[in-house]
């Protein structure tokens, strides 16, 4: 991972980031892409308390992502 690259689960509240990669099987990736979680999408972390799901804002909608999945979403922090 590059200097700015982290997994979604580690981002504090309020961080703006761009999704780089989603780790998972073909079906799981298809599913997430359809929900707006795709490489290239910009997200804002709305809530991340270190345990439980991470809540992000994507394209004006809010999505809760379970911690197990959030750790498999690689993002790049944008300032």
């Amino acid at each position: 991972m590059g200097p700015n690259r982290r997994d979604l689960g580690s981002l504090p509240k309020g961080t703006r980031a761009r999704i780089i990669n989603v780790i998972g099987g073909w079906g799981v990736r298809q599913r997430l892409y359809e929900m707006g979680i795709y490489p290239g999408a910009e997200i804002v972390v709305i809530e991340n308390r270190g345990i439980g799901p991470v809540i992000v804002s994507i394209k004006g909608g809010q999505i809760a992502i379970g911690r197990g999945m959030a750790r498999r979403i690689i993002v790049e922090v944008v300032s």
Binding site: Y33, Y38, G52
Partner: protein, 750 residues
Amino acid sequence: MEESRDIDLVVAVAGSPNVGKSTLLNRLVGALSHVGNWPGKTVDIIAGVVEYKGYRIQIVDLPGTYGLSGVTEEEDITRKYLLGEYGERVHKHRRAICESCPFHRTCFFSQLCLVRLFSDFLHRKKEIYQRIYTPDVVLIIVDATVLEKTLYLAISILELTPNAVIALNKIDELEERGMSIDTQALSKRLGVPVIPISALKGKNIDKLLDAILSVWRRRISARRTLRINYGILEHYIQRIESLVRKAKLPPNYPRRWVAIRLLEGDHELFSKIKSLYDGVSSEIETVVSEVRKELGDDVSAVIARIRYNYIAEITRDIIKKKVERVPELSLIDRVFTHPLIGPIASILLLFVIFLAVFSINLGFPLNIALESLGMSSLAELLEEYSLVSLVDYLVSLGIDYIRALIEPYSVTLASFIADGVLGGFGLIMTFFPLIILVLFLISLLEDSGLAARITVAIDLLFSKFGLTGRAVFPLMLSMGCNVPGIMSTRTVMGKGERLGLILASPFIICQARLIVLIAIITIAFTSPIQQTVAFLSIFFISILLYLIMATIFARIFREEGEVRALVMDIPPVRRPSIRVAWWNAWIMGKEFIKKAGTIIVMLSMLVWFLLSYGPNGYTVDPDETYGAIIGKILAPIARLWGISDVNVAWKIVFALIYGFIAKEGLLVAIAQLSSKGVSFEEAWLSFGLTPIQSFAILLFFMTYVPCMATVITIRYETKSWRLTLLSIVILLITATILSTITYHILAIIF
């Protein structure tokens, strides 16, 4: 029946979750009903008819999906239906019978109609696929407040068919925020009508129907599907398109769409092409691997990105006064996302709902609370005027009346009608209000956005088991009654998790079993400490079993596209529509009762036969019945718990069979089997069981088999007898192993 007049056009309604699909359907059609099952799926086909300007329009409700990849059951259904893969199964003979019946307009229980059942039997091999069609028009609902995100499904469908209309829902909410959308520009860019509507307020529904009719009228003229420029991929798409042409796919498969799907890595479509014309499959594979070499392994990510960029491009200048708000959590969200307050608030909220529903229906658990506070008269009153008691009272009045009517002619027939047929019917009627009320409240929770927040708050507790926060709904509701608990799994997104929770729910001790549990524990154990320990251990074992079984089966049945963790849209909190919630509950509840009713009545007749007939014909002495014979054959089972006295063993087994109809029936059966006028307590004590034996039997009883209504619910929700049987077998095995091991371990210790 209503469907008898010919339908002019078929409209399929598609939309992502939370875009307001059921609100719109409620506006469009007065009544939706179940018209069948999608072949091989657990999802129902729901449809209704709307008459507009002299046309009869059939509205087919497609399951909520985010796209058309076909990776989940919902997506697979939507895709196959849009491609015209499913036909409609029409029972011609049923129509003929129902049309000639004088009661057909008011008929509610046509599923129970004996004439129809007989006719179904005669025609069982002649079920015909009368019409196979693709829908004439697809109505795609998008949410104006999250336009870019919900347009993804819309453009996925538009790449497949040009005969579509887009309903831009929640336009009123958008306007309240001081924003507007240039729908005409959007319509021009997408090539289909875009109608701004408010399903909640009923705004522009006429315009929507007009647009549907106009699309339908010009559907014959050659129109093209939406063409997105895939840039660097275009060259490859065209190469695959020309290869696909050779495979001679049916005309309803647009070649360009197929080519794009193949690039995305769709193996189902690939094997379909391979089976049609194997010659091109290796060439297609070559092209796909060339693309991978150029763009990396995940071509589907590139395609998704191009689609979203396309959406961003076409919507960029049409949303007016777009204020870039910094997203923030509302107060409700701050409560529910708090790591400590969130789960507590969720459980409290669910508990209050649980308390309200079950207290209205059964008096339970409020009656026990009142009793322990010393207000036993109030507790009794509550129990007496609970919905179930009232329904029970009315049903038994009716049953007694009919029994008295027939008894002078034939005691056997009177018992058959009263206990066998009407007894089963009464059982359904006592379930009906419970089911409707639970479904109604669940719908309200969903619609208000609170269900999503509860799911998020509770997720932490279940994620360790590979489940999501959704598992809390069946867990809580099953404690009252397994039937609505299992029905509440409908809101679970993944098929694997849903089946896992369905199969696990019967492990939860419902109130009927709780009554038996408390009754036997208080008799078998004398000290309050022992009673409490026995009760709590059985209670926690049941919850543990629920979690273990749900985890195992969720893993076994997991679909390819099922995310192991929670990934869920959180809709904004809003005031729920009581009308829509009630409508949803009514449709689901009515359909369930219709389907389950037939089978419950038949099973009730069978059990009646076993418990009142013997080798010497009809008998009132339980000892002489076939049930007793079965009980005696199966009596050696009781040796597992160290009971070798056959006279005691068969009674327990017999009572267990009785408990299948309804779990509390066990108490009645044991009292009945002993000499007349003996209370349950005396009957149980006369068995001379040790506390450990009682405990083992209780452990067995708690999980040995779901009650009749639960079995039917499992069948109804899974659409599969095999899974239903699997559920029973697992319960039986678990109960046997658990109770035997516990008995022997405890017998050694004490």
